[in-house]
């Protein structure tokens, strides 16, 4: 930044100094020529100074205009205009001075005229270079490799001409002619780059026209005054070098004039179409708004409103409505400059006349229904266009656009609104997908919580007694199941045991499991008979469990005084009991219906009290269906027989060892550690 500022200052100072030297050396040369005196100043000096002046100014504008990114098109034109204005004002001021001097000998003095000429020439070149730099930016607005090369060649050629001008060595006339031809051709080709014009809006185009016109005026003025002045001087002195012989200036002038004329004409002829461009630009913006609305607004309604707004403004519709399927039977209506009643009338009319179109939700085609409106009385509308809005191939709504003019919609409009409708569909689809992803994430989070809850519901310590020892095992799949087991000491001689399986999975299962735990802990301590326990538990659960949910459970009371196990089975997997005396393992298949299933009938008819006399060495294995239904690679189930066999061959060991043996067999059978259900078992070994 600082560097650029310093460079602009340096180049402008340089330009000024070079100009001063140019003016005085020229006057000196001229003076020497008129007086036929030997000149102290070499003849080539003014030329070299002019070149240096041009180069300094060239760099000055390079830093001032070309590098300034903040300038837009009209700013660039304004810069040219402003430079021209200042130059013209100074030039006119000099003219005024000349006029005021009137009949004094000074205005006719050749040297003074030369000074005036040099001032004008300096201003003129300054103006041309400002224009040249601005044109460069305009031409290179949309760069291509080819364009940049062409411009470089053009600039290089101009520089060669500048050097060639000052050294006065005629290499060959064909070469110089070729160079001039080439420069003109390049300049002409480059002048066709007018893409920037398309980006101007209507107002900017008018401003540009005015600025260009005034700039043309300045150009003509300067051309005129410089020519007059140089003619006057050159009539009196042969040493004077006319700017017209300065090929560089002529080339620069030609280029500036060509481009300014082209620009003026192109802008002028683009005036009538500028509204179309603005419209297109607005469409692009609307399009972007529709696609981005989801991210910013976070709801579907805003997409609908933006769609309605954009469509109306894109086709200049007089009214519109948007009908969206809210639920299966309900419709939601968004209207624009039309009452709900009016839109209802139109739809009713179309329906009455059995006109199939996008308005009945089943259609997926864009339809122009204008011709059918003619038969509707009392309607101010004469054109109707309907578009379906689709999400995943399914029509979720319709957009209807209305106009009071007959035949008000053309193909182009249909295409644009169709694109809007499609984009809105995509936005809504994205929105729904995002919602789904959120839901999923939330569900996963819930599951994690449910799993923690479930784990915390299982006891960390089990009751033990001199008469028996208990081991328990529980492993759950990724999805939360509802396996539950627990123990509770009722009194000195009695211990209650429960194993239960809640139907369903996830949070509801964990929730029901916690209810079961509550029921167990509150009922068991009162020491009811197992059947009573079940009847009461059923009564409590019937009103808590939703339709289709149930809990299978088996409740035990081990009495160490009477050496009996009292139990009741409510739909749970039958108990596997090993009798040490007979050395056999059997399933105790008693009657019993799961909790929560029997609602209106008397549940006491569906459960029974059972009892077993236990002996030391007997083993009782309680388990959930996850174990018996565990499958191997072939799809076979682990089943009761394998379970019984696993118990049979380890029945003499401790409860812990029996359990480990069963689980070892289970994992060997399924062949994987990944389980797809919950495995829960509780092993009781009597001593």
């Amino acid at each position: 930044m600082f560097k650029t500022k310093a460079l602009t200052r340096l180049t402008s100072m340089g330009a000024l100094i070079f100009w001063v030297v140019l003016a005085f050396s020229d006057i000196t040369v001229l003076f020497a020529d008129i007086k036929a005196l030997p000149s102290d100043v070499p003849q080539w000096l003014p030329q070299v100074m002019l070149d240096l002046f041009i180069i300094s100014l060239f760099y000055y504008y390079k830093f001032k205009i070309e590098r300034d990114e903040s300038l837009n098109f009209t700013d660039l034109l304004w810069k040219v205009f402003a430079t021209g204005l200042i130059a013209t004002v100074i030039s006119l001021a000099v003219r005024l001075l000349l006029f005021l001097l009137g009949s004094t000998p000074l205005p006719t003095n050749i040297l003074f005229i030369d000074l005036v000429y040099q001032i004008n020439l300096g201003l003129f070149i300054n103006f041309l270079l400002a224009a040249y730099t601005s044109w460069k930016r305009l031409i290179l607005y949309q760069k291509s490799k080819w364009l940049i090369r062409a411009w470089l060649a053009f600039e290089l050629l101009l520089f060669c001409i500048l050097v060639y001008d000052s050294i006065h060595i005629v290499v060959s006339s064909t070469l110089s002619n070729t160079a001039i031809l080439l420069v003109s051709a390049l300049g002409l080709i480059l002048s066709f780059n007018m893409r920037w014009v398309a980006y101007l809006n209507f107002k900017q185009k008018w401003t540009s026209l005015l600025l260009l016109l005034l700039s043309i005026f300045y150009l003509v003025y300067f051309l005129y005054s410089v020519t007059i002045l140089s003619d006057t001087v050159s009539q009196q002195s042969t040493a004077f070098i006319d700017f017209q012989s300065h090929v560089f200036s002529i080339a620069l002038l030609a280029f500036v004039i060509t481009y300014i004329t082209f620009s003026f004409l192109v802008v002028l002829f683009n005036l009538p179409t500028s509204s179309v461009f603005e419209q297109k630009l607005e469409e692009v913006v609307s399009f972007q708004r529709i696609s981005q609305s989801i991210q910013t607004e976070q709801n579907e309604e805003s997409v609908y409103n933006i769609l309605l707004e954009s469509s109306v403004s894109a086709v200049f519709a007089d009214a519109a409505w948007l009908e969206m399927k809210a639920t299966d039977s309900e419709q939601k209506l968004y209207t624009h400059k039309i009452s709900a009643q009016e839109s209802k009338d139109i739809r009713a009319h179309l329906e009455k006349n059995k006109i199939k179109g996008a308005l009945d939700q089943s259609s997926d085609k864009t339809k122009n229904l204008s011709k059918h409106l003619g038969s509707l009385k009392n309607s101010r509308f004469r054109s109707l266009l309907a578009f379906p809005i689709k999400v995943k191939e399914e029509t979720i709504g319709t957009l209807a656009l209305l106009k009071e003019l007959p035949e008000g919609f053309n193909k182009e409009m249909t295409r644009i609104v169709s694109a809007f409708a499609n984009q809105a569909g995509i936005s809504i689809e994205n929105f729904r997908l995002m919602e789904e992803a959120f839901q999923n994430a939330r569900y996963k989070e819930e599951l994690k919580i449910a799993k923690t809850v479930q784990q915390s519901l299982l006891p960390t310590k089990l009751e033990t007694n001199l008469d028996f020892e208990i081991s328990a095992f529980s492993a759950s799949a990724d999805e939360v199941g509802g396996d539950y087991y627990d123990t509770l000491r009722i009194n000195e001689h009695e211990v209650a045991l429960i194993i239960a399986d809640v139907s369903g999975k996830g949070t509801t299962a964990a929730f029901h499991m916690s209810q079961m735990k509550g029921i167990f802990h509150s009922l068991a301590q009162q020491g009811p008979s197992p059947k009573d326990f079940m009847v009461k538990a059923n009564k409590a659960l019937v009103y808590c469990l939703e339709r289709g949910s149930f809990i299978s459970a088996t409740y035990f009371v081990i009495n160490t005084q009477t050496k009996k196990v009292h139990y009741s089975r409510a739909g749970h997997c039958p108990v596997l009991y090993h009798q040490a005396a007979k050395n056999q393992s059997v399933f105790l298949k008693d009657k019993g219906t799961a909790l929560g299933m029997v609602r209106s009938l008397d549940y006491s008819n569906f459960v029974e009290n059972q009892e077993i006399d236990y002996q030391p060495g007997d083993v009782m294995v309680l388990y959930t269906d996850g174990i018996t239904e565990a499958k191997n690679g072939k799809g076979e189930e682990f089943g009761g027989e394998r379970l019984a066999a696993a118990l049979q061959n380890s029945a003499q060991k401790s409860s812990k060892e029996i359990e480990e043996n069963v689980i070892k067999h289970l994992y060997e059978f399924s062949g994987t550690e990944d389980i797809n259900d919950d495995y829960t078992s509780m092993t009781v070994k009597f001593q």
């Binding site: 369903g504 149930f550 299978s552 739909g571 749970h572 219906t593 609602r599 269906d625």
Partner: protein, 116 residues
């Protein structure tokens, strides 16, 4: 995966289940029974000859209709259950709550008797 077909025979609606019923496919079973009830059938037979496996969620579907069917005086009879499937029903004690017969003709007979 489950495939459920409905066909009518002698004023009874026969729902045939082919495949396995787990938590996700139980919804289809639920829909089929709901439709049958909704259509006003008073005799519903469930053909379980093709039923290979039923999970607790599937049993829950049958269970959930017990009360409703009783109120509406609709009679539902299951038949052709494979041993494994029947075992699942009996362990849960659902066999006592539902009408289960071995063959189609037995089931028809029962449903006709019940609906008189």
């Amino acid at each position: 995966m489950v495939h459920i077909k409905r066909l009518q025979e002698d004023g009874a609606d026969i729902i045939a289940i082919i495949g396995e019923i787990d938590a996700s496919s139980s919804i289809e079973l639920d829909l089929a029974i709901a439709k049958s009830v909704g259509d006003g059938y008073r005799k519903i037979l469930v053909d379980c000859n093709g039923l290979e496996y039923i999970s607790s969620a599937g049993l829950g579907v049958f269970m959930s209709y017990i009360e409703e069917l009783k109120d509406k005086k609709v009679y539902l009879v299951l038949f052709g259950l494979k041993e494994r499937v029947l075992n699942t029903f009996s362990i849960l004690g659902l066999a006592d709550l539902l009408n289960i017969r071995e063959t189609k003709s037995d089931a028809k007979k029962l449903v006709d008797e019940l609906s008189v």
